[in-house]
Symmetry: C2
Subunit: 334 residues, 2 copies
């Protein structure tokens, strides 16, 4: 492996000067710049980022905490993060934290990340988050005081969907929620659903909102199971909201098996607008936003705060969401 030393020798200058050339310091004599560049090219020299990190005490490394790799929603956001980060010389690493042993949290702390984005739904160990703070890592989605918080503004699109349903003559509308009741009530989707349901005088039977306790299931599985339970109690339901598009996929499957057509018999509404949703059968109506751009925004905030901690005080970022209408929604059959 050739090092800065080899380059220095070949160019007939000191390692310090090679460093200065590589970091584009303006004061280096042009003649030396030339020599160094030539040596670098001739030797195929590629600097060691690790060594650089160590000397600069900056790793240019963003971590992402994830429950599972196969969620396409997160995948799109992460791709946005990765691309922006890469353009700014940052590396992005995903840490899958499901059946996580203590060892994995420790490994993350050992890597001395500059930033960490939390896409977990369950809570992380206190000792772990405390260590992250101690390391002054720029955090996203940990707690309101010590990190950037991303909040999706579901209220406007939820209102619009509820209005559309009311206009379409729906009165019996269900919600298949992949999490527990507490999260539903604190989520803007849950809140808005309850408010508008009341406002429009929809059926307010509590059993039209279904929750899930088994956190080991995938969203599709949950959507399928909850939908099955729903149809048992309310075979006459005409519209169903789902926590996300994958749960909607499960619900669609269940409806189809039950001999119900979407949207003629039951309208289905997803959330997140994953790319695949356009190819569901039927294509799913959903709540959408630009996930790639959002990922890039997150990366930008982190990178700017890493460079200058004062640049962005921690605050809540509200992401505007909008309705995306596709064929899965239609007037209720009276």
């Amino acid at each position: 492996m050739i090092t800065r030393n080899d380059v220095a020798k070949r160019a007939g200058v000191s390692v310090g000067t090679v460093s200065n050339v590589m970091n584009n310091k303006s004061f280096v004599k042009p003649e030396h710049v030339e020599k160094v560049r030539k040596a670098i090219e001739e030797l195929n020299y590629i600097p060691d980022f690790n060594a650089k990190s160590m000397a600069r005490r900056r790793n240019n490394h963003i971590g992402i905490a994830l429950y599972e790799m196969t969620n396409p929603y997160h995948a799109e956001i992460i791709q946005g993060i990765e691309e922006y980060a890469a353009q700014h010389n940052f590396m992005t690493t995903i840490f899958v934290l499901n059946n996580t042993s203590h060892q994995k949290y420790h490994a993350i702390c050992e890597r001395r990340l500059d930033g960490l984005v939390n896409f977990m739904t369950n809570d992380l160990p206190r000792a772990f988050t405390a260590e992250l703070k101690r390391q002054q890592i720029v955090l996203v989605n940990f707690s309101p005081e010590d990190s950037f918080m991303i909040v999706n503004d579901y209220t406007p699109p939820m209102r619009e969907f509820m209005r559309l349903l009311q206009e379409g003559g729906h009165r019996k509308v269900a919600y298949l929620w992949t999490g527990d009741e507490m999260r539903f009530r604190s989520d803007k989707r849950g809140k808005t659903f309850l408010e508008e349901r009341e406002k429009y005088g929809f059926d307010s039977d509590e059993s039209l909102i279904l929750f899930n306790e088994d956190m080991t299931l995938t969203s599709e599985q949950i959507g399928y199971r909850l939908c099955k339970r729903l149809l048992q109690r309310h075979p006459d339901v005409t519209a169903v909201f789902c926590t996300n598009d994958l749960a909607a996929l499960g619900a669609l499957r269940c409806l189809s098996e039950a001999g119900l057509r979407c949207p003629e018999d039951v309208s289905v509404i997803g959330c997140d607008d994953i790319a695949l949703g356009e190819y569901f059968n039927p294509p799913i109506s959903t709540i959408s936003f630009d996930k790639r751009a959002h990922g890039a925004d997150i990366a930008q905030m982190i990178i700017e705060k890493v460079a200058d901690p004062e640049s962005h005080p921690y605050h809540t970022v509200v992401v505007p969401m909008h309705v995306k209408l596709r064929q899965s929604i239609a007037p209720a059959k009276n």
Copy 2:
């Protein structure tokens, strides 16, 4: 940030001894081990992996080259890699290499990976792969001489599917291939399809095999478009193979729009067995293997070869594949 020095002082020993304790050297006096452990705990000391890497010249870092993050097939394999790697103290980083600038390849080389897995379909720049070899990185899926090659053995399941179709009275069977003709002819799926089609005397019209040239499209889009083109030329087709499950999803969408039912009118067969396939409408028949386990196998090969380059000479790994039958396949109508 507290360092090994702080621990040494607190424990009243030298940094070397702290190192020896941390690396479980058996020769350290038990009394010192005790003191050091205590100091570590009291100070909440967490070693710096970067510094360790530098001194040991081993980064414990596996890279993965990917075209896009949103492919669930790769996501499952990668999760297998990540989990095995993490258990063995290796970090896994995904590099998205689509519209890739030269800069990104350089960044990868700077990070001094120990291993790199190639999940790209298009070729990588020669200069890049040459540098990877120079760095003695353990490679997977680059070229037969300089890397492990993973080959999925599609032949048996393809034969079985063709037999099933023949038994079901199918004679007009199509293939929607997401790549170009050359790859089709060199892929075991393509080869077996052609062989068996001949053997069973299926319709051998060349236009029953459709290719794609636009590499910017997603698999779903390709499946949809190719299926549309297929139906124009062959409205009487009774079975369709697709390169992967996502392309099959696109094909299903297209069939549905055309008023054709799957499997009553047309049988559809995917490939890869992504988790979502079970929730397609109808659930997709596909070619399957354990992707998590496969990912773990890849990680194991890499990690063992990093530890001991002689342990695994580069060779081809053949992955056995099998049929997974779901509702998307049925006998041809009359």
